[in-house]
Each structure stands twice: as C-alpha cells, then as structure tokens.
Assembly symmetry: C2
Homo-oligomer: 427 residues x 2
C-alpha cells in the first residue's frame, strides 16, 4: 500500500501499527551501531599476516636501502611501483605516504590554501570567494575539510552516473573562485554510484574559469566490490591528460579498507608537476613516511592479483551484510512510497531517501531505540540536508544478525516518522 496516496483513516491505522511495532522494538534494549564505514573484525582478520610481513633482518629494499632509517619522502620504490600499478599511473606519478588518505587530501587542500597549486595565481588564502563543488549526498569528512579551511561548498546533485554535469560545467565555466570538485568515483559515499565514462570525460575536458581547478578524485573503493568484481571507472589522470588538462586530477587511494584500517598506506597519484609540488610541500613537514609499513604492504599483497584475491575475500564477508540491509528494506518498506534506497555493487554504504522532513526524526527515534545511525544531514555540506531526507547506513561493521535487528528498528522508525509527516501534511 502506497502510504503517500492513502486516505486519512488508513494513515491513522498505519500510525497505530507503526507506533506499536516501534514500542515493541524499543523494549528490546538494543545497542547497535551503523554509523561509520569501519571494516569488521573478520575483515581485519584477513590481513593478520601483514603483521609479520617484515620481520627482523627483512627490512632492506631491492636496491639494498635500509628502510628502518630516515628518508625517502615520497615513498619507497617498491611501494611506488606497486601502488602505481594499482592506481594505473607511472611510479613518477605517485606519492606513497602514511596511514591516512584523508591526511593527504587535507594536506593537498591546506597546501593550496597556504601556498597555492601549480598553474594557479598563488595561495588560495590570498584570494576571495574560493569554493569547491560537492556532489550530494557525499562524504562528511570531505565537507569537514572544506569547512575547516574556510572554503565555501556548493552542493551539486548526484545523478545515476555521477554529478549533474550540466550544473558542474556551467558553474566552473563562470566562477574563477570555484577551485575544485570532490569526487568518489566508484561506489560513491554514500550512494554507491559509479561515475560513467561520459561524466569522467566531461570533468576532464570542461572549461574552468580557475586555472588551478582540481578534481579531488577520492577512489577509496577502487577494488571494494560486493562479489562481482570491481566496476570500471576511467582513470581520471589519463582522461585529464588526453583532454589537455594534465594537472587537473589529484587521485587518492588507501589500503585502509583493504588491510588494517588504522595501519594502512595512503597514496596520491597525479601529474609529475603536481607530484613535484606535493613532494616539496611534504618535505617541510616530514623526513619520510613509515617505510617499513609500506614494505609490509607490498610483501603482503605480492602482486596486483594478490589485491584482487584479497578483495574477493572481503566481498564474501560483507556482501551478506548488504543483502541483509536490502532484504529488510524490501520486506518492510517496498511499495509504501515513503523511502527509496540504493543497491550498491560495492563500497561501504547504503543511502536511503525518505519523505522530506523525516530524516532527523528517524535518526532520533532509532537512537532512542538503541540503534545509532549517522546523523541526518551528515551527507551534506555544513551538515544541512535541505530536504532532511537522506540517511546513510553503514553495514560492514555489525554482524548479519545485528544488521537484521538494527534494520527492523530502522524500518519501523522510517514508517512511524513518515506516516506522521504524511498525516501532518494531509491535515
């Protein structure tokens, strides 16, 4: 029954049922958490051997360098070669760093603010009206970086194959203050959308009023599929080069959701001009990354097939969790007209859109019933979802059983809040 087209009496009845169901669930005293995209312990268990991948006496590089000592600011040659292959660039086009790609993205943007970027007119801090485009819904930590650095965010709607490129092209062509765009091109956070070739090509080729415009290409889920192999996304750097804009793409990657989330290796791939610029910036702030941990990663994976084999194991662990989310949504909310949701083929999230004005209330109700959800609005710049309708679910960390319980609560909250809103609107 589509609740959006039903009559007042039926809504009344639905609200009663939903209230009762919510009350029952509330009395279970659950304590569940679906807030963050964290790998589960079972996923982390897949990488236990990385802890012993570099033992005593095993710390020499291929050229004999002692990786225990200082130096090598842009990453050890083995890691550069290995992750260059992973990112589909040359070893001259990559920096392999510490344990956090968020840090590399923050540093790239903070570096632009403080010192500027190749091709630009100096530090962004000396310019007014600096802005970055933010496809929405998107990743809260990207938005937090911009907000922190005083960079204005302009939301752009996501379509089924990437950001609304008509809007993007029109914005960047006319405003020299628009310096970049955040992109999670594969299994986007939280929508699971995969950028089409057409979108990538338009991003690469579009005219930008800013000479130092950058695509912040956070390919966090490059190989993080749910069992059918990684989706194909064009290489942003190669596409930008082909379009005559070689310095436009900064591509980020990370092993945090491949090996150990807290002890991974992060990387940035870009034109040799951008890499030289970033390397210079980094060299003031460090004498070198943890080279031993880089070596652990190269040895643990062995080769590119090693990555794929490893990620297939990850998929086998998390696919049932996404299936449990999907099943609960189908069973409880299908056909009711109050919610739509994504069915991602990879990544870490399911994105749910509910009746306008209900997301915050649903998160509140769920919290009251012991199920923690990502705060409503988190997927929008400044934490403000203008329609208050998007909720991000993160199914990887809890067990299937916990997800089933949490989703029962979630769906009851969606129904209760939306029915109430519909009643209110009908009145």
């Amino acid at each position: 029954m589509d609740l959006t087209t039903t009559d007042g009496a039926a809504l009344e009845k639905s609200e009663g049922q939903a209230k009762e169901r919510y009350g029952d669930l509330n009395r279970r005293n659950l304590q569940l958490d679906m807030t963050r995209g964290k790998p589960s312990p079972e996923q982390l268990d897949l990488s236990e051997e990385i802890l012993t991948a570099v033992g005593p006496g095993e710390w020499r590089g291929e050229d004999g360098t002692d990786y225990r000592n200082y130096g090598i600011v842009a990453g050890i040659p083995e890691a550069k070669a290995f992750f260059a292959a992973y990112m589909d660039v040359t070893p001259e086009e990559i920096i392999v760093g510490g344990n956090s790609s968020l840090t590399m993205m923050y540093d790239a943007m903070a570096g632009a603010v403080l010192f500027g970027l190749p091709g630009g007119d100096g530090p962004w801090r000396e310019q007014t009206g600096v802005k970055v485009l933010c496809p929405v819904p998107g990743y809260d930590r990207h938005f937090a970086v911009c907000e922190r650095l005083g960079i204005e965010m302009i939301p752009v709607e996501m379509t089924d194959d990437g950001p609304d490129m008509d809007a993007v092209e029109s914005l960047v062509a006319n405003d020299p203050g628009i310096k970049g765009i955040w992109c999670v091109p594969k299994y986007s956070n939280p929508t699971g959308i995969v950028y089409s070739d057409g979108v990538t090509e338009r991003l690469a080729a579009m005219e930008t009023a800013a000479a130092d415009f950058r695509i912040f290409w956070d390919n966090a889920y490059a190989v993080h599929h749910l069992g059918s192999g990684p989706a194909r996304v064009m290489n942003a750097l190669a596409t930008c080069k082909a379009a005559g804009n070689p310095d436009r793409a900064l591509m980020f990657g990370s092993t945090s959701k491949m090996t150990l989330a807290g002890a991974g290796v992060a990387m940035m791939a870009a034109s040799s001009t951008n890499i030289a610029d970033a390397t210079k910036k980094i060299s003031f702030a460090t004498i070198g990354p943890d080279k031993i941990n880089q070596l652990r990663h190269v040895r643990f994976f062995g080769d590119q097939d090693g990555i794929l084999a490893h990620m297939a194991k990850q998929a086998a662990l998390i696919a049932p969790k996404f299936a449990a989310v999907e099943a609960a949504l189908e069973k409880n909310l299908a056909g009711k007209g109050i919610a739509t949701w994504t069915s991602p083929e990879g990544g870490y999230f399911v994105s749910v859109d509910v009746v306008d004005g209900c997301a915050a209330e649903i998160v509140r109700l769920a919290d009251e019933a012991g199920v923690k959800l990502t705060p409503a609005g988190a997927t929008y710049p400044y934490g403000r979802d203008p329609r208050d309708r998007n909720i991000r679910l993160a199914p990887t960390m809890p067990s299937v059983e916990e997800i089933e319980q949490a989703m029962e609560v979630f769906c009851a909250c969606v129904e209760l809040a939306c029915v109430r809103k519909l009643k209110e609107s009908a009145a």
Copy 2:
C-alpha cells in the same frame, strides 16, 4: 702554534703543508658522509624485536579495543600513559601520533597560521609581522618550517646554558609579533648545550607581548646521552604552569632515534587546553594514527627502565664515534687558534666554529675530497651564517674508521681554508 698570531712566513709554510696534506687526502678517493643525524645500522639493530612486538592476534588494547581498526585520534591509552611518563606529564597532556615529530611541529605552527592558538587573537595569517626566535646555531628543519610558513626568524645567540635570555626577554616583551621560540633543550642541535634551570625558568616566566606566545620545546634528545646517563632539564610544561603561563610550552618528543628512525612514534605534550586545540585540528585531517605501531613501541620498551636500558646500548655504540671526532680535532687543530668545538655529552652532533669567513670554503674543500658535510649556513635561519664560521658534524651514521678518515680530511680542510684566510687578512 697559534696560527692567528704567527707571522707571514710561518703562515706561508703552514699553507704549503696543509695544501700538500689536503692533496694527499684528495687522492684517496674517499666517499664519506657526515651530513645528517641518522642512526647507524648497528643502532637500528637494537630494535629488531619491535618488528615482531605485535603479532597476529596481539592487537587488542588493555580495554579490549581492536587497534587494527579506525579511530582514537590522539593515540591509544597505553601509548599515552607510557609516553606521558616519558615526557613527565599526565595522559591528558599528551597526543601520541604518527612517525614524525617534525610533522607535529609543522602542524602546530601551520595550525597557528591557519587557525590560531588558544589565548591568541586568531589566525597568524591575519596578523602582520609574525616572528619566531631562533637560537643559533640551531636545527635547519625548524628554520625551514618557519621560512615555508612565512614566519620571520630572529636569531638569538646561544650561550653555554641556553639562549641569551637577556636578549630573549627584551625582544618578547616589546614585540607582540614575536609568537614563539624554538628550543632543543637537551644536547641542543648542533651545539650539545643543555638548558640550565635558570634559562628554563626565565623562558617560562618572562613577560611576552604576544598572548599566544609558545615555546616550541623539541626535546628530541631527552635520553640520548653518550654514556653518563641523561642530563637533567626542567620540565618546560610544569615550569610554565608554576610561572602562571600554563599554555606557553609545546613539548615534542619522538622515538625515531630510539627505535627505528623511519618507523617510530612522535608525541606532543602540552596543557590540556593546547592538547584539546591540537586534537581538534588533527581530527579534520585524520581518523587516527597507526595504533599498531604505537602498541609495538609500548610492548617493545615495556617500561621506563626499558627506555633507559635501551638508550644505554645506543650510547655504547655512538660514544666511540664522538670520541673519534674529538680525538681528531684535538690532534689536528688544538692550540692552532683556528677552530673551537663542542664536546657534547649527548645528542647527535658536534658543532665546530672556525675562523670567520671559512665555513663554506671548508665544506667545499671537503666535498671535493669526497667528504660530504652539512652545508655551511644550515645551522642558521635562511641558511645564512653571518660570520660563515659554523659547521655541524654528524658522527652517528658512519663507522669509527670512516669517521677517522673523514675527520682527517675535515681537519686538513679547516687548516687549509683558515690559513689562507689568515694570510689574506694579514696581507
């Protein structure tokens, strides 16, 4: 024979001898490097067991937390407790981070530029005439951070027990643009000087025109003695608290020269106000440090006595190298009036002052003879030693035999360059 008071003919003879000696050494085709303060392979060998300190299944914290996963931005409780004891602060007064204390210092200063510091009038970037005092000779990477961030550096002379405090007090009292001072309080880089209690107390208590004045207290060599146990330096944080300036000290430490130089753990200790401010800043740029590597360090050392026992082994390895430097300087240059040098009781460097105007030429001559030295001027802001007389020697990395060879060359270069300069002056 004191060459500075000798006559022209004697100088002529000396130059001839020095030239011949230098020529002989030049023909040996040496390839030696005394540029950077890197630990030797033998020092690194002392920490081989850290590579296996956290094996499979051993990654849980005392409270059961899985340290393989994301989170805990200011460091794991075990590491905070352990390094708080090391830094003589409470666990609430420390952040334990990644592998580089230079990064923490850079971030502290860059964060002040971008966002300001507690007690101040906002971001330094919005203020004019921001300056930092730099005791000289000092550490080139400290100076590079300031130069990079556009912070003007004001050199202050070092005395035998720390910076010239009369000069420091007078400068900071009158110029609100002076925001801080770099200090390496124990076995200072490069002079080996240990700050006296009087100096520390004056730094803590002095009136500063800037409300957000900070002591950047880089205690890099806190336990890095040469065999007689660590020298005592006052705790800057406690001293500042006692003087009524609790937020003045930012104390930095690192295990880079204790365990593995590239894979250590860095820390910042400060008032809880400063720690809260720094934690907030960090939280935009990372989801957490490498907690596994922090755990490795806590387990490897075991307790504070473990640190001391470990550093006694380090001392046993490097003390003979410092002795070889001292012996060569004594043998070749004592009594000649052309050079003075430090005899440090810890740290990583020997500082040599030669006849004014000769340092750059000595480094050039040594390089020509196959001995790489830290560039002349590196120990001064902007790389400019106004008297061109200071040279930093780094004896830890080469073997004793290599040091003996390198020092023979160095001393020959000192003599040749200085005699020539004296001849020139006499003419």
